[in-house]
């Protein structure tokens, strides 16, 4: 157990709770609870969006993906950042001008039926749950490294999941969007501070980026993998022969000992040479593309990442907190600066890990909380805290571990708010109790937060039982990308056509969401089944099951569906001109500017600076 790290994490939790209690005094209305009163300034909002966005997948997953996959892992960083260009170019300003609270509100306001609002709510909940899963898994794994033990009869992993769910339940229900925003700002800067420290320590140790890249690419890329003796010796020992060629004599002796013990179900850590999926005749080296993606997947992955951001409800909701459309654009520019800095640094840590972790294992200074084989981490997702301990000792491990929890807290907070607003604002206030008082609405929103925190808890506890964590090499980043792919297929075509094509009809939009969302779910499910070895069929199912990301098919299919069905349907809302004026009109902004209402107010209430009385 690492005392310094635990003290820092407890300090983070207490500070988080303190901010939520402070915010509670200023969360009286649903606009306060869901939107922080719509008065969050560009830079504050950019910091909060960055905190919301930089989840466990980014903080723990990007460096891990680079460590395991080289260039194909770097794409996670570039793609996650690139997604905000789609937001700023096509969505941010229009969404803010349209007003409202949620993505489902936009769908209802634009197309005018309860049916599309409810379809959107289902999509929001599914996206949020997809995104929640890796955060909760990250919570369990980070707790395992940090504390290394469970409480109340639970495993260390389960304890981490329970603790994070409980903290989130408390602080989001208590502070609402204001508390969550303040916490996200703080959490973003903490995790950024931890990353900067790591990079400073790495360069301080004599690291040369170009040279390290050359060294890492000198030989075939190898990775550690945990397999059963039965799998290792199957097919006349094909995998065993590969492992023997890639491992040191000392490392392979442990493998031979495990085989000699005769237990076919015993698990053993091996090192295997990696295959180039893009250029099959070339060796797979760190600096080249092809470790994860074949030619089709290269495009599908890029599309999933750059389009998916615009389909994440918890990110889009934050745009409603801006005071104006122009402020929404400025926020996005600052987001790109802030997360860009982070995403430039994360791959450096992943690359440096190849050399520094191997050196630490060789000289016996590697932390004992992780497993290694031949100088490689068996679980790549542990790279951030392990690098913290190796290059900065207990203090840096503590700062990095607190950074990991900050990343999880900030994202889970945004997801809980998005989920609560989907059922609280979009269902309860509209259908179950339209005459609810403000007090009843806020109470329901807080209750919804608690319910979804329990759902998150269930998801987190269920992941290890599914076997997903051992089937994918960097499962945290992988699961987040599934959320991106689902959002890109479900929401982005509807938002793009809803904002930019007046001829979009309700039936077209719903059909597009079903085709995009349903298609994404189907392909992701087939990929999971194939990776777990459940699906062995060839043909079309096998082809789809081989696709890591569905976006290259689902996004154009959804777009085409919307266009074709809308053309066939032709039933535009009766007030389509009014709707169009709400999305693209400027009278409201001219009015707000005249009265000083476009200015940023205090996060704790009070009139906006410069507002006319």
């Amino acid at each position: 157990m690492n005392t310094i790290a635990i003290v820092l994490v407890i300090g983070l939790v207490l500070f988080t709770i303190g901010l939520s209690i402070l915010s509670r005094r200023f969360t009286r209305t649903t606009a306060d609870f869901y939107l922080a009163g719509r008065k969050v300034g560009s830079f504050s909002n950019a910091s909060a969006i960055s905190g919301d966005y930089l989840s466990a997948a980014s903080f723990l997953g990007v460096a891990a993906a680079v460590y395991a996959s080289g260039l194909d892992g770097v794409w996670y960083a570039a793609g996650f950042a690139g997604g905000f260009m789609v937001v700023v170019l096509f969505i941010a300003s229009a969404l803010r001008r349209f007003g409202e609270y949620t993505v489902a509100d936009f769908a209802f306001g634009r197309f005018g039926t309860d049916r599309i609002r409810l379809v959107t709510v289902v999509g929001v909940l599914l996206t949020s749950m997809f995104y929640m899963a890796p955060q909760m898994y990250g919570a369990g794994t980070t707790w395992s490294i940090l504390v290394g033990r469970g409480f109340l009869g639970m495993s260390a992993y389960n304890t981490g999941v329970v603790v994070v769910a409980a903290v989130m339940m408390f602080y989001v229900a208590m502070g609402g969007m204001k508390g969550t925003t303040l916490n996200q700002v703080f959490q973003f800067w903490w995790l950024n501070f931890a990353t900067i420290l790591l990079v400073v320590f790495i360069f301080g140790s004599g690291f040369s980026y170009p040279q390290a890249l050359a060294d890492a690419s000198a030989d075939t890329l190898v990775n550690a993998k945990t397999v059963t003796v039965a799998d290792l010796t199957a097919d006349d020992g094909a995998m065993l022969a590969k492992a023997e060629g890639a491992m040191t004599a000392e490392g392979f002796a442990n493998v031979e000992a495990a085989i000699a013990a005769g237990d076919e179900t015993a698990k053993v850590d091996v090192v295997l040479p990696q295959v180039n999926k893009l250029h099959e005749l070339r060796d797979m080296v760190f600096v080249e593309p092809g470790h994860r993606y074949n030619k089709l997947d290269q495009f599908s992955m890029v599309l999933a990442l750059v389009l998916g951001t615009a389909g994440l409800p918890h990110i889009l909701n934050r745009y409603y907190t801006n005071p104006s459309g122009s402020a929404a654009r400025r926020s996005t520019f600052w987001v790109l600066i802030l997360i860009g800095m982070f995403y430039i640094m994360a791959p450096i840590i992943g690359l440096a890990g190849r050399e520094l972790i191997a050196n630490a294992v060789a000289d016996g200074s590697a932390p004992t909380a992780a497993n290694y084989v031949d100088g490689l981490l068996v679980t790549a997702s542990q790279i951030m805290p392990m690098m913290g301990q190796i290059i900065g000792g207990q203090w840096l491990l503590g700062i990095v571990s607190a950074g990991a929890f900050a990343a999880m807290f900030s994202t889970i907070g945004g997801l809980l708010i998005a989920s609560a607003s989907a059922v609280g604002h979009d269902v309860y206030e509209k259908y179950i109790n339209p005459n609810a008082t403000e007090k009843q609405r806020v109470f329901f929103a807080k209750s919804a937060v608690i319910v979804f925190a329990f759902v998150a808890l269930g998801i987190g506890l269920g992941i290890p039982a599914s076997g997903l964590n051992t089937a994918y090499p960097a499962i945290i980043a992988m699961m987040v990308t599934w959320a991106f792919a689902f959002g890109a297929g479900t929401f982005v075509p509807m938002l793009l056509t809803g904002i930019w094509w007046k001829g979009t009809t309700e039936k077209g939009a719903i059909a597009g969401m079903i085709v995009g969302g349903g298609g994404s779910l189907l392909i992701i499910l087939l990929n999971i089944l194939k990776t777990l070895g459940v699906l062995t069929a060839g043909g079309l199912l096998g082809f789809l099951g081989d696709m890591t990301y569905p976006t290259v098919f689902t996004f154009p299919a959804a777009l085409l569906t919307i266009i074709v069905i809308s053309k066939m349907d032709g039933q535009l809302p009766k007030n389509v001109d009014h709707i169009w004026m709400r999305i693209h009109g400027t009278a409201h902004e001219r009015y707000e500017r005249e009265h000083g209402l476009d200015k940023v107010g205090g996060m704790f209430g009070g009139a906006p600076k410069g507002a006319s009385k």
Partner: protein, 130 residues
């Protein structure tokens, strides 16, 4: 806010408009704003997607791009994805935001001109302040 906009939406002499306080959007002014914004956003969008999708395209076909070191171990592909892509994004976002803000300013003045014309034509039917 949305409720305010809807409440103020009216039709006058066959023309629809939205009124916020003393400010009015007509379908004519909004279409003008929409077309200008669409041109700007889709021009930048085309550049963004062309550059972004060119990277995996080059990774599939051009060996000098993905396999030949140009600085230490950096290939052009690795250098672009790990560093230069962000400079591209920052430049795009900055110039787009500036142009969009400028466009907003220009269009607001133009919208006000259209509004003045509309107000003169429908002076009897308009509210003074909503």
């Amino acid at each position: 806010m949305a409720a305010q906009a809807e409440a103020a939406a009216q039709a006058t002499g066959g023309e629809t408009y939205i009124q916020h306080g003393s400010h009015i959007d007509t379908i004519e002014s909004v279409d003008m704003v929409f077309r200008a914004q669409r041109k700007l956003s889709f021009t930048y969008g085309a550049i963004f997607f062309a550059v972004t999708l060119a990277i995996p395209a080059l990774s599939g076909v051009w060996e000098a791009w993905y396999a030949e070191p140009i600085w230490g171990g950096f290939t052009a592909n690795y250098l672009f994805v790990s560093l230069l892509y962000y400079v591209f994004l920052w430049t795009m976002a900055w110039t787009y935001s500036k142009k969009a803000d400028k466009l907003d300013e220009d269009l607001m003045y133009m919208a006000e001109e259209i509004e003045a014309k509309f107000r003169a034509e429908h002076a009897d039917e308009l509210d003074e302040e909503v």
